[in-house]
Amino acid sequence: MDFFLQLFSDPVGFYQSHELLIAQIGINSLLAISIFVTLFSGQLTLANVGFMAVGAYTTVILSLHASTPLVFNIALGALLAGALGVVVGLPVLRLRGVFLAIATLGFGEALRFGVILNLPITGQGQGLKNPDADPLGGVVPILVALALVAYLVWRLGSSKLGQAWAAIREDELAASSQGINVPLYKMSAFVVGALIAGLAGGLESHINFFVDPTEYGTTRAIQVLTFAVVGGISNVLGPILGATILTSLPEVVRQAQDYRDVINGVILILIIVFRPQGVLGGGGLALIRPRWWPRQWTLTRARTPADA
């Protein structure tokens, strides 16, 4: 309860005492958006945590061995993740649904066990110490990046790119009858997702003193998917909301912190049973909309007879 009391009575104090939590929410929101982009195009990929690792390691290795500015390091990390997305996407995007999910999960594990744990430059199992770590200074860049990425992804929705993605998600066969180059657009969604995940990785490394290979495992890959599922994927606010709820949950119920994974699991099950479209999906925000709130501000699709 203290959590909410402080949030509303003393927002400045709340921000100061919860900066790390807010930074983590920002990172998780970025990751949730990265998986939202691929889900939006109808692909269930779990490779994003691997791309995140690429971003994080690139940033820290550059900080250790080169004197380039941090912004450049983070940007290069994101671009490398995007480039790796092309290489991984070529074979993997021939798969669909659960097979794609398994293959991309495999990519993440192969990257961790095969590359990161074996290359001397990554510090192998020990991880890397980050000389540029700045836990508190990292918060604002993260929030700025989140706002920018969320805005861009929201605007993509009505672009040629975004409409092609939506069409592929709804019906690939029909999409190609409209002249949409399905493999190309699937690849572009995969790469955009990889870029965002790489960016999140670089930004996260900046607030941590240490890059730890165990951070980028299967558990996290699935956690990221959970953010998007809980929040809903009808628009970009869903994944952000999902990440916010699930990241702040352990803080809200401190007493239950030991049961964090259990609570996460129960929430996921409840969402799947009672609200499979996610908290915000299918007119979700409209449901909690106060009377004075203009309908068009809710950003969700108009409610249709099928919803009723």
């Binding site: 861009l152 605007r155 993509l156 009505s158 672009s159 040629k160 790119l161 975004g162 409409q163 092609a164 939506a166 069409a167 709804e170 019906d171 066969l173 029909a174 999409a175 190609s176 009858s177 409209q178 002249g179 949409i180 180059n181 399905v182 699709r301 108009a302 249709t304 007879p305 099928a306």
Partner: protein, 532 residues
């Protein structure tokens, strides 16, 4: 001599052993409406899939204005101005009607991702123009933008979904529009509106390739027709020429012992549907039971059954009965609702209203396994054998719910002896059998479920005439052994030879009923199939 927009020469495609499209050559003139007709499984949709690149060409050439397009990807062919609709509607169900049309403009749209990132309207002028054009297209096909543009595609009625799919195809700005059964499942008023739309679009200069089973529509709007059967082009010409062609009549009504085919071309078969029918026949009246006196004794009694899929009602109140020991046929053209009736009886679909009682069991509510164990077995359309399992394994599956293993093993052996074709191929994968052999396997599999009433859905589908004889021989044999049979067939004349009684189904209603022999002589039956 007008130029040819689309030229097909020697186009061939087979799937496994089935010749789906075999050496088909066609020329479609610029600005025409070209019809493509043929019975179920004739290869019409495969031909459309070949033209649009969904199915790879095995041999032959396809040229669009002299430019070869065979072997290109679907999106490349679409970008050249070949738009299509799908036989089973394939809209973007969750997107709004407007968004569906906007996506259709994809190949004409410049890459505007960067502009779209801006918030100011000046960056989005292109989008505003597209929205205006999309709204025009919606009203073009008869969907008022004000009412429909923000509704999700899945919430539209069936006929509106078909129209939206046409609007989406038009958004491509096509040179050639392929319509795959645009009027399927529509009521007569809706069909008339589709017909007007097709004629208007053509008047504006669009070349159209139309596939449909509704002969009134096809014969009415098309200037040229090609008829396919078993993947081959069996006729080509104007509607009048084609409907007088004996080969076409045979293809539609099936083969029979007599040589009646040529004399009863649909154009020549004078009487209208409403014409008085023979004494043995009467127009079915759904309010009255077909067998008022022995109705309680009927093995299967169906009353006022209504079944549908989402927005469309495919079966609109049918009443009929099957007595013990009978063979009863439901005949009618494609899309009449015959298979839907069978699926509602076997529990695959649930009726909206009405009742179906099989030997005391209410088929409308009973769980599927109860229906099977009560002795009602369906042999599905398209055979549905497991292609990679052997003949023997497929048969064993038919007895899956039975616990008397030894008896099953003995019965399988008996069946193998009874149907020699299966016995010889017992260890062959079912996928390697011919279509007819697969059909016999599917029937034999059904028999292992110990049916008292066997439902056969289109047993002759896609089979060559000799094979049809083989399959019908098996059906007669099973009937002689005491099993009651409800048969659904497109091959009407053949079905009427084995059936004691039959019902003619059209657009979800029973049109006529009578003895097989009487219906066989009835011109209205031909009319139901071939229109005119």
């Amino acid at each position: 001599m007008p130029a040819h927009l689309l030229t097909l020469s020697g186009v061939t495609r087979h799937f496994g052993g089935v010749q789906a499209v075999d050496q088909v050559s066609l020329e479609i003139e610029t600005g025409t409406i070209f019809g493509l007709i043929g019975p179920n499984g004739a290869g019409k949709t495969t031909l459309v899939n070949l033209i649009t690149g969904y199915v790879a060409l095995q041999s032959g050439r396809i040229e669009l204005e002299g430019q070869p397009i065979g072997g290109r990807a679907p999106h490349q062919i679409a970008s050249l101005g070949v738009a299509r609709t799908f036989q089973t509607i394939r809209l973007y169900k969750q997107l709004t009607a407007l968004a569906n049309v906007l996506v259709g403009m994809h190949s004409r749209r410049k890459h505007d991702t960067l502009q779209q990132l801006g918030l100011l309207p000046v960056f989005r002028r292109g989008q505003l123009q597209r929205v205006a054009e999309a709204r025009q297209l919606l009203s073009r096909v008869g969907l008022e933008p004000e009412r429909f543009q923000n509704r999700r595609a899945m919430t539209l009625s069936y006929g509106d979904q078909r129209r939206l799919e046409i609007a989406r195809a038009l958004a491509l700005g096509p040179r050639l529009l392929l319509l795959d059964e645009p009027a399927a499942g529509m009521n007569p008023a809706e069909k008339d509106r589709i017909r007007e739309l097709i004629e208007e679009l053509n008047a504006e200069g669009l070349t159209i390739l139309l596939i449909d089973h509704d002969m009134r529509l096809v014969m009415g709007v098309c200037r040229q027709l090609a008829v396919l059967n078993f993947g081959r082009r069996i006729a080509l010409g104007t509607p009048a020429e084609v409907s007088a062609d004996p080969a076409v009549v045979t293809a539609y009504l099936g083969t029979q012992a007599g040589e009646e085919g040529a004399t009863a071309a649909p154009g020549a078969a004078g009487p209208e549907l409403e014409a008085p029918v023979g004494a043995a026949l009467r127009v079915a009246d759904p309010t009255e039971s077909v067998h008022p006196t022995d109705a309680p004794a009927a093995m299967l009694q169906v009353r006022e059954l209504r079944v549908g899929y989402g927005a469309v009602e495919a079966v609109k109140g049918v009443t009929f009965s099957v007595d013990k020991g009978e063979v009863v046929a439901l005949i009618g053209a494609n899309g009449a609702g015959k298979s839907t009736i069978l699926n509602a009886l076997s529990g695959v679909l649930r009726p909206h209203s009405g009742s179906a009682v099989f030997d005391g069991l209410d088929l409308g509510t009973a769980p599927t396994h109860r229906i099977v164990s009560h002795g009602l077995i369906q042999v599905p359309e398209g055979r549905e054998v497991l292609a990679r399992q052997t003949v023997r394994e497929n048969l064993a599956l038919g007895a899956w719910s039975r616990r008397d293993g030894r008896a099953v093993a003995r019965e399988i052996e008996e069946l193998m002896e009874r149907f020699e074709i299966l016995g010889k191929r017992r260890n062959l994968a079912a996928g390697q059998l011919s279509g007819g052999e697969q059909q016999i396997l599917a029937i034999a599999r059904g028999l292992l479920g110990k049916p008292r009433l066997l439902l056969l859905d289109e047993p002759s589908l896609g089979l060559a005439p000799q094979t049809v004889d083989l399959v019908f021989g098996v059906i007669e044999q099973i009937h002689a052994a005491g099993t009651t049979i409800l048969l659904v067939e497109q091959n009407a004349l053949r079905a009427l030879e084995v059936a004691g009684r039959a019902y003619v189904v059209e657009t979800g209603r029973i049109l006529l009923t009578g003895t097989g022999e009487a219906l066989r002589q009835d011109p209205a039956v031909r009319k139901a199939y071939l229109g005119g």
